[in-house]
């Protein structure tokens, strides 16, 4: 059966379950991941790595179907040409230097000596490791190891890049460079799927997120949309910094959709909890205009991955 146009552009999981004997890996996962950066978030043991292993064809699902750009791992030659994977573990054959490490895997991919050589240097250049290419990988720092792992994942120019904890161990400068590389790759049309524990970074880099807990996907999509869907259970919080917070609080609190209006401890702002953020923003415009308030900042206080994570999974990984 030929893949549909949508299938050819997306990573699709259809009711996928994976059990390791009696141990649950992931259960009934249905996803449709578009190009761009997708953050995979969940506590330890939630099934993130299983999901990634399924995505890159290292595992076969116990149930369900997986399609990566319309392909599956039954045709490895074609499938693995399009998929690049970087595991969370430092796994380096002993004795190899940076360029040999990349070149060896390109040769495994089936690239000839000349192509492998050229692609090796291109990948090393992209991750900023050309100067260290002749050094043994065993002597690399943690950050350099992360970058050389990233280089082996991108060296064969895949369309789908799956990266397990790629930011671990990177210093702030390297982190910024790697994030910028992700953005560049995603803007080029790649699917960049990144798992991370560092929520504010996931929030910063991701176009969409997949939240996973206990083997189940608990939320998926653009983080703002996910947050909107939770408004009933977890009213949106909006922080407003202004010159007369007491007046603003009294005016907005009169509205039905506003559940709470609390003046900040420093007396220079209000935190509002509302079940209808859109209506609240219209109301805010009206109050500001009517009362001539000076607004310094209006920002959602809990519309990030961190807040969604806390609401859905809880700080200790307990689903609330």
């Amino acid at each position: 059966m030929s893949a549909t146009v949508t299938e050819k552009q997306r990573v699709i999981f259809e009711n996928v379950s994976k059990f390791y004997g009696e141990v649950l890996g992931v259960n009934r996962v249905s996803l449709s991941i578009p190009p761009g950066i997708t953050g995979l978030v969940g506590p330890n043991g939630s099934g993130k790595t299983t999901l990634m292993n399924l995505m890159v064809g290292l595992l076969r699902p116990s149930r369900g179907r997986i399609s990566v750009l319309g392909m599956d791992s039954q045709r490895p030659e074609e499938f693995f040409r399009h998929v690049g994977y970087s595991t969370q573990y430092d796994a380096f054959p002993p004795g190899l230097n940076g360029s040999q490490f990349i070149r060896s895997y390109l040769r495994v991919h089936g690239f000839g000596a000349a192509e492998a050589e050229a692609m090796t240097w291109k990948a090393l250049e992209r991750v900023g490791l050309t100067e260290a290419a002749g050094r043994k990988v065993a002597g690399y720092s943690k950050g350099m190891r992360q970058r050389v792992k990233l280089a082996q994942a991108i060296c064969h120019q895949p369309s789908v890049l799956v990266l397990d904890e790629p930011l671990n161990g990177l210093d702030p400068m390297a982190r910024a460079e790697v994030i910028s590389l992700f953005r560049e790759l995603a803007d080029g049309g790649l699917h960049v799927i990144v798992s991370s524990h560092i929520l504010h970074e996931v929030d910063l880099i991701s176009d969409q997120v997949v939240l996973i807990h206990g083997g189940y996907v608990v939320a998926e999509g653009d983080i703002a949309n996910v947050r909107d869907e939770m408004e009933e259970e977890h009213p949106a919080q909006v922080s407003i910094r202004c010159d007369r917070p007491a007046l603003l609080a009294s005016r907005v609190f009169a509205q039905d959709s506003v559940m709470e209006a609390r003046i900040d401890d420093d007396g220079k702002g209000v935190l509002v909890r509302t079940r209808d953020a859109d209506r609240f923003h219209l109301l805010l415009n009206q109050v500001v205009l009517e009362n001539g308030l000076t607004i310094e900042a209006v920002a959602p206080a809990d519309a990030d991955v961190n807040a969604v994570y806390q609401y859905l999974i809880g700080s200790n990984g307990e689903k609330s």
Binding site: P35, N53, L58, E77, R81, Y85, Y89, A91, P93, V108
Partner: protein
Amino acid sequence: MAVYDRNFGIYQGERTPTWSRFLIIPRYAYQEVFQSRLFVAFLGFCFLVPFAGLLVIYLHHNLAALSFINLPLDRLQEALPINAKFFRWGLEFQGFLCYVLALLVGPALISPDLRNNGLPLYLSRPFSRAEYVLGKTAVLAILMSAITWIPGLLLFFFQSYLDGASWMGNNLSIAFAIFFGSWIWIAVLSLLSLAVSAWVKWKPVARISLLILYYVPWGFAKVMNATQDTWWGFLVALWPTMTTVWTRLFGLPLEPGDYNGNPMPLAAAWLALVACCLISLALLSRRIRAYEVVR
């Protein structure tokens, strides 16, 4: 949804044939193996016996070169017969060196990949578990070939060259025995040492395990055969089993003295070797996986 402009290009050029990709593993593994001076010295030593064989064959056909020794030349020729027994002895000696080679190289082949969870690096490419095992086997098989059947056949052809086509025609079974006999031993040793490497992560312990697997069943077999007046004990001992097969491949009779008067039947020896390979493969199959389940 955002509109993404695909500006990356998938490589569309030619690829190397799938069957040849397993050879990438030995190519890079040798960089590590040959860094050990001990190993290089050992490998040099492995060529001493083939070289001595070459000398013996040459002298066998050029006795005049030994004229400075005051011995009758016909007795010298009798003392240096070039026959199946000569080649079998050579294979046996080199076979033991293969075992030492497996001890030196084998334990470090798979355990580092498993210890570091490195298998996904291979298996997330168009490279199967079977190809991975084949590649790791090739690391040992190529080295073992270099010290067994390759010099063995070179000596055979040298002898054929010096003795003439008729000798070659009459002794083709020797060439077959060298080639086939070497490969059986290479397969058994490679798979066994890979299986040990896959299950024992620490190199010294893996080496000790290989020593135990080689010598302890042999000792046990000797005791059992002596006390029970049987050959059954040898079923678990690699070396007597292999030498039984070699002896028969070279068309030589089994010497009862070696087996307490009870030579092992050839079929039993074959079965034991095949069982060893199958058990090793099963052990490898259980360990060579792209993921690890933490229970």
